[in-house]
Amino acid sequence: MTAWVSFRVNGRPVDIEVEPMRRLADVLREDLGLTGTKVGCNAGDCGACTVRIDDQQACACLVPVAQVAGSDVRTVEGMGAAATRGAGEAPPREFADLSGLQQAFLETGAAQCGICTPGMLMAAEELVEGPDAPTEAQIADAIGGVLCRCTGYRKIVEAVGQAAAATRGGPVGAAGPAGGPGAATAPLGARLPAVGARLAKVDGIERVAGTATYGADQPPAAFLALRAVRSPHARARFRIGDLEPLRRRFPGLAMVLTAADIPGQNRYGIYATGKDQPALADGEVRHRGEAVLALVGDAATIDGIADTDVPIEWEPLSPLADMQAATAADAPVLHAHAPGNVLISGRVARGDVDAGLEAASAIAEIEVETTFVEHAYIEPEAGSARRVGDRIELFVSTQTPYMDRDEVALILGLRPDQVRIIPSAVGGGFGGKLDLSVHPLVATAAWLLDRPVRAVWTRPESMAASPKRHPSTIRARAGADADGRLTAFQFHGDFDTGAYASWGPTVANRVPVHAMGPYEVPAILATTRAIHTNNPPAGAFRGFGVPQAAIAHEAIMDDLAAQLGLDALEFRLRNALRAGSTTATGQVLEASAGLAACLEALRTHWIARRLAASAWNEQAVAGGLRSRRGVGIGAMWYGIGNTSMMNPSTIELGVDRDGAVTLYSGAVDIGQGASTVLVQIAADALGVAPETVALVSGDTDRTADAGKSSASRQTFVSGNAARLAGEDLRAQVLQLAEAGDGATITLGDGRATVTEPGGRPVVIDLAELPPVAATDASARPVLLGRGFFDPTTTPLDADGQGRPYATYAFGAQIAEVEVDLDLGTTRVLGMVAAHDVGRAVNPTQVEGQIHGGIAQGLGLALMEAYVPGRTENLHDYLVPTVGDMPPITCLLIEDPEPAGPFGAKGVGEPALVPTAPAILGAIHAATGARITTVPASPDRVRGAIREFEAAGSRAASRPGAGATSGAATPGADATPRAGADPDRADLSA
């Protein structure tokens, strides 16, 4: 039944006939076309759909449209100059059209992927308008109901505070969209470099205005809807029954897609040799949530078909629930190519580990367990496909358009050039959108039906079906001599790669290289296995297994330092990899190994915070307070780009006959800021202002292949390609003018003007130049610069020796925590992060990556645990909220990488790696309990404290005995010893 409902949206009257219980969010997005309001969960858990109803913020996904009858609804589209524009006019395109709050978001870098931004703006707006300047706590309360997975919230809080101050005449941020020294379009010859400037995101206005088109933002009326029916079983055989009755009952059903309908190869996967995952299961499912068929039809029909309406006969089989079950002698083999369910093993061996341990004065051991972690990007997987003659075009949320193109071609049995991938705006990726999601299903349906088809996954579906961070079981042991130098490191990690390979091989190969941490160790044996189970596939997630390994190696460093009576920071510094060091794979680091500089930058913070925590603890003991503070440290290194594999990027930079400059970048900006960084680099390489560079991004018909947005590679690899493209174009312009390299170039009005220092301008009439061919057939450049870069690596031999990466990022963080001893709750009070990024191309974005990495590291450390079938929503699966994020001090270390563009490396993944080790070290410092199973949830922390206190009271009864802190890991007798840790709190009170 429908009814007429009248209300106002952004001041304009709306009168529509609608299903009264239709969610307001759907009415706004689908019926009124106001897609600035985003839907992340449809359950009130994420707040992305926050709008204001009669000024009060509300989740539009939880409001029956009938309830807003007579009300004023305000959405992001009503902000800024939009409020004064009439109906049907264009959305804001200029900085000046934005509201003060939107401008503040843009200037501070508060929007990364932008999917939460409209909700954040709506949640914060009331405070900005309010009578009093808000406190930070009030800002947090106001936006506490909106989740952000990118920013770590700090810059959002800053933006709200800045906007609130500005409306009260207080100090405002830098004027203009660029917000930094690179902002002004300076006169000829005085242009400031773009690299190093705090340039606002080049794609930022559309994100804060809510006009960026994400995967689910196309108008649904133009498409058939597709919904997958998924397995409720972790392992089962199944048979699809007679579908005729279903078709008769639901005439709007255009197609029921099954494995038999896949035109090409019903197998996909990251590695050419490891394509093991079916687009639709063929008779057997290997994990809960695996797609078995897809329903295609008009949206109302598809929404009306329950899974139970579809005739599927299930024969559940006993699943391999974990790695132990999968490696049991009698375990069924899930894939013939993986005997014993071991997909792949990794190994790095160097020197004599036994001798090294023999020679050690102190030996530390640890066992670490980690669980599935969900990417929890606020934008669930979504996209569409349409057939255009003998080609198929996909509009989809992805991190890797070129890999998608090749995979879809295989599934449809087409040539890659018959497939076009147009990336949508991406509402968060973090590795999770490197695998196919909706692609094979919408592509196949659109291909076969010759009608446009779209699919939007629900949150539970996204969580059940998408890849996860690998659970791991790690054992590690290391020794150090009396001088505090590491002598040997031994490591084995098993990683649950789930039902299909996904990026499991990458994890198995990357982890052994990094297993010992950023330290020079003469003897190493590091081995890994990726093991198949009937869990969801584990794939790529910010760090590819390195964050799990870091929990082990950093606990070991703490322990060895404590045993030797050395300070934990100084011990790390003594062993730090430096320029000239030889890594575990035998690679000599030639330059840009800035860990020592990071640790030195942290030193004063380390000393001051530890003193403050000790003083606080003394007061707490005296006052009978059952809380303790502690400070911990974590260090990391991370190879930039693919491991020992081809890793190329090609970027084009064109000038058309009008003098307009366009960067053709195949590198997808998933919120991390790749587009902005590439524009900055290309602009400086060419010698023009970045504001003059337009961008074409990601479309496989219009850009060359710049690889995937993963492995922290876009700044380094695509950045180099952008630099080379800029230099190529600059050389062409200078050659036309017969000018030397010191000349300045200005482009515009159909001319290139080249001026040598002290010389007269040489004008080139661009309209007289013939067009040149570019990847984008629709473009008509008259000059085209092309840059190609593939970092120099070598394959690893059987002992893992070789040059797996061209360069490495380094970093270290310290965490200060407060632990409630009775409740086991941990609050992170502050973080200090020092990262060697080579060169900070855009400091605001580097800080944004660090903040966001810390947020995800904090989640990994304290709260995130995905349990298949149990935590498939964002209220049982917890990610940090604004209230969980402490102030963060960023210390940017720039030890330039000679092979990097302007010296830059990467920071996307590195920022996450040291966070959990630092937090776990801080919990240990505060309580004496070493948590070795993450997340360190309150019950685990409390349990560890309980055991530690019991062990302490037993030990106290033995004269001279120090308390041991291995209580949380029975058998791990070499976890840090209490007596040697000067910062450990007295728990006797």
Binding site: A58, C59, P64, M863, D876, G883, P938
Partner: protein, 283 residues
């Protein structure tokens, strides 16, 4: 496809409920809808909805009959912003821990109770407030103590033709104080691992005259700790009062192991929270 009705009067609502019950298709009552939609993500829906948000006179929290009335449409934000005595401090604190502001602005106190989640933050508070649930139907009105209203995980004594029109909370003397403590794994948007609501009144010598302590998320239905309450009466309300709490006072709880925590931990946490709540009220 189900039906939808948004009555303007209570009489209209209860008549619709009665008809639906007679037809064997009980009406689904919707107010803030914040529990309604999340339970239906990705599901085919066929509810006959009776949306009660159009009924006048069910919003304002007001003094009534020697106590206070929280009508069916009062939201958590209404509780947080209403001018209420210290008796309601615990409930007000709960009001700001239920979801984000977006939820608090729409979700109702009554809906939180009727949804009957074992982890409902409102319920232990309403138990500690000795609240009565007012139900109406074409058969008339009845009042049920909160302790008798919720019968289990997601079950209540509400009949298919009944609607909860509000809650009645009896006043206590002016010495009364109350609090609410919640244990969760993150700062906002968190479902309680355990929670405690406490109401304590004292006499002129600051000895406890009334103590009501309820624990949530540690049993299918939140429970009062009657033995503890009895032990507290007559004790001085002074620092150290938390020591009155003994493990056997929590013996009636039956916490489960789940993704939020183990049963052992829940019990331990609940005991710590009870002590802290009492210390806070005695300070």
């Amino acid at each position: 496809m189900g039906s939808y009705l948004r009555p303007a009067t209570l009489a209209e609502a209860i008549e619709a409920l009665a008809r639906a019950a007679d037809d064997g298709r009980p009406g689904v009552i919707v107010a803030g809808a914040t529990d309604h939609y999340p339970a239906r993500v990705g599901r085919v829906t066929d509810d006959d909805v009776i949306d009660v948000t159009g009924i006048a006179g069910l919003r304002a929290i007001e003094p009534a009959d020697g106590g206070w009335r929280i009508p069916a449409l009062a939201t958590w934000t209404d509780v947080a912003t209403a001018d209420l005595p210290p008796l309601f401090d615990g409930l007000r604190r709960a009001a700001r821990t239920i979801g984000g502001r977006q939820i608090q602005n729409r979700a109702t106190v009554v809906g939180n109770l009727v949804n009957a989640s074992p982890a409902a933050d409102g319920t232990p508070n309403l138990l500690a407030l000795d609240a009565e649930v007012v139900l109406a139907s074409v058969r008339g009105e009845r009042r049920v103590p909160v302790a008798a209203f919720v019968t289990g995980n997601r079950t209540t004594v509400r009949a298919a033709d009944e609607i909860v029109t509000g809650l009645f909370i009896p006043a206590l003397d002016s010495s009364v104080r109350s609090t609410f403590l919640k244990l969760g794994s993150r700062a906002y948007l968190v479902i309680s691992i355990a929670m405690v609501a406490a109401v304590v009144a004292v006499d002129a010598t600051r000895r406890v005259t009334h103590a009501r302590v309820a624990v949530g998320a540690c049993s299918p239905v939140a429970r009062r700790l009657w033995d503890l309450e009895a032990a507290l009466v007559g004790q001085p309300a002074a620092p150290g009062v938390g020591a009155t709490v003994r493990p056997e006072h929590l013996a009636g709880l039956s916490p489960i192991d789940d993704v939020r925590g183990t049963g052992t931990y829940r019990l331990e946490g609940a005991e710590a929270l009870v002590r802290r709540a009492l210390e806070e009220l005695a300070a």
